[in-house]
């Protein structure tokens, strides 16, 4: 287990030193701050716009950190053969995968928490509208929950990005495949809709298979649904967290199986 944590620690340090990571963080901050401008275009709903846009940006930059982190750390390590330096040591391959994954998740979490703090500061900068916006609900309880649920998406995304980084033929294909999973993951309800509208046959089977393989990110989309009346409560959150952990666990296990058999 110590080797797992050593690799995780090493991954976090590498990520933080990575110029790409710093650029992502910088741009994330800049875009969050500039959401003030967009908010100004919606008088009366200024804080709502900043709130919504900020939460989406938080996720998108989390996604960018996960994808670019996985690609820059793993794919390039394989392409440049520097992975030999690690694998020739007494290190089990599953430990390498798990360490990389944990490090990646930690780096993504650091990005999201840093951006969330900035996001809150931007929102509370307009105290009057912030109070109007949060008059009917408890912002300080709900907001951390929304960020936490977004991290559920990131957990799965980091596992997907790591999987493709290990087995895609190039960095670009790893980026594209992970992006495709991200988009497809937001189409869970649409897939269910299509399944219901499709008569029995091969297409329905394909749709069922797609619904089973692609993660359903809408389970974690609390930022769009928190204000909806009758929205499921904490039990739902528990199942969603279990779903994220199990999906990431399954994908990591597949990665470990394939990576254990991979020859360099």
């Amino acid at each position: 287990m110590s080797s797992v944590f050593a690799i995780a620690r090493y991954t976090i340090i590498e990520q933080i030193r990575n110029r790409l990571y710093q650029i992502i963080l910088f741009f994330g901050g800049a875009i969050l701050a500039s959401s003030l401008l967009l908010g100004a275009l919606a008088p009366g709903h200024k804080v709502r716009v900043i709130f919504d846009l900020g939460l989406v940006m938080l996720e998108l930059f989390g996604l960018a950190t996960a994808v670019f982190g996985a690609v820059s750390l793993v794919t390039q390590e394989i392409e440049s053969k520097t992975i030999y330096l690690l694998l020739t040591r007494p290190l089990r391959r599953p430990a390498y995968i798990l360490g990389r994954f944990l490090g990646l998740v930690a780096a993504v979490s650091i990005t999201m928490v840093a951006m969330a703090i900035l996001h809150v500061l931007v929102m509370v900068s307009d105290r009057m509208w912030f109070q109007v916006f949060t008059a009917d609900w408890s912002f300080w309880t709900v907001y951390p929950l929304l960020v936490f649920m977004s991290m559920g998406k990131m957990l799965i995304t980091a596992a997907v990005a790591l999987f493709f980084s290990l087995f895609a033929t190039s960095s670009v294909s790893a980026l594209v495949f992970t992006g495709f999973f991200w988009v497809a993951g937001h189409f869970g309800p649409e897939l269910s809709f299509m399944i219901n509208k499709t008569v029995q046959g091969p297409l329905r089977t394909v749709l069922h298979a797609a619904a089973a393989v692609f993660p359903n990110f809408q389970y974690f989309n609390f930022r769009d649904m928190y204000a909806i009346p009758g929205f499921p409560g904490y039990e739902f959150i528990g199942w969603a967290v279990l779903y994220a952990l199990a999906y990431a666990g399954a994908l990591l296990t597949v990665s470990m199986i394939l990576f254990s058999r991979k020859e360099f």
Partner: protein
């Protein structure tokens, strides 16, 4: 190339995989039994010049952001100079007798379309939908379009009582459509947070149309459930008037 000296899949890996996949299936099943996707299907979106942008936002799972952008675009449309859209419309006279000149009202033929786009992106952006409905009804005097918008809004988010309030206000002020107004208000009464103002309008209307018993029941409901003393007193006064005219209804409220 695969290394053939080790088994295809280790038993421990296989066991983990089976456990994780089982947990995914279990969690998905439990979630699906509670999860009702609250947004309209993509096929229901309003197709406009912004359709690609709307889809792009939804690809990222950002319904609220898509609706925020639609709202900003609606404001820009409704707020920008309308000279180019003027088509020589004569001065409008509102159903309640207020004269609005073209300079005041402007002509915004696509206002409802833009409001529907917003509504279908996020049916729970209630305040923005009310703004659009209000602009259509009270500024543009396009009562029918406003009511169509509100009807769809009610269908998509029936728990938001203020839609009913707006419908009631529009119909009440435009007069002559009492049957529709009563139907809408009776539906609004089904929600716990239906405001006494709406209940009061319903009671008055029922009384006006000769449905005294139903009217009395509405006022009794306000007396029993109204949070404010002023609302309860008004309802009590109305009830007394009904009971004086129709003593046989005393049985409804023996006190």
């Amino acid at each position: 190339m695969m290394n053939r000296s080790i088994p295809l899949v280790r038993k421990s890996h296989l066991a983990f995989l089976i456990i994780f996949v089982s947990l995914v299936i279990l969690a998905q099943w439990r979630i699906e039994s509670r999860f009702r996707w609250p947004f309209p299907a993509l096929s229901e979106l309003e197709v406009s010049e912004n359709y690609a942008g709307d889809l792009g936002a939804l690809f990222l799972g950002a319904h609220r952001v898509a609706a925020d952008i639609a709202y900003i675009q609606l404001l820009q449309y409704y707020g920008m100079g309308e000279d180019e859209r003027k088509v020589g419309r004569p001065t409008l006279v509102t159903p309640w007798g207020h004269h609005i000149s073209d300079d005041e009202a402007g002509v915004y033929p696509r206002l409802k379309e833009k409001a529907v786009r917003l509504l279908r992106l996020d049916p729970y952006f209630n305040a923005a939908i009310l703004e659009a409905a209000g602009a259509l009804a009270f500024n543009q005097v396009r009562i029918d379009e406003s009511l169509e918008l509100l009807r769809e809004a009610i269908q998509r988010d029936p728990s938001f009582y203020r839609y009913h309030l707006y419908v009631a206000a529009i119909l009440y002020r435009s007069k002559g459509n009492d049957a529709e107004l009563i139907k809408t208000l009776e539906e609004a009464m089904n929600y716990n947070d239906c405001p006494p103002l709406l209940q009061n309008i319903l009671g008055n209307l029922l009384k006006k149309t000769g449905r005294y018993e139903e009217s009395a029941r509405v006022f009794i409901h306000i007396i029993q459930t109204g949070a404010r003393e002023a609302d309860r007193n008004t309802a009590r006064q109305k009830l007394v008037e009904i009971l004086q005219e129709h003593p046989d209804l005393q049985r409804l409220y023996p006190q």
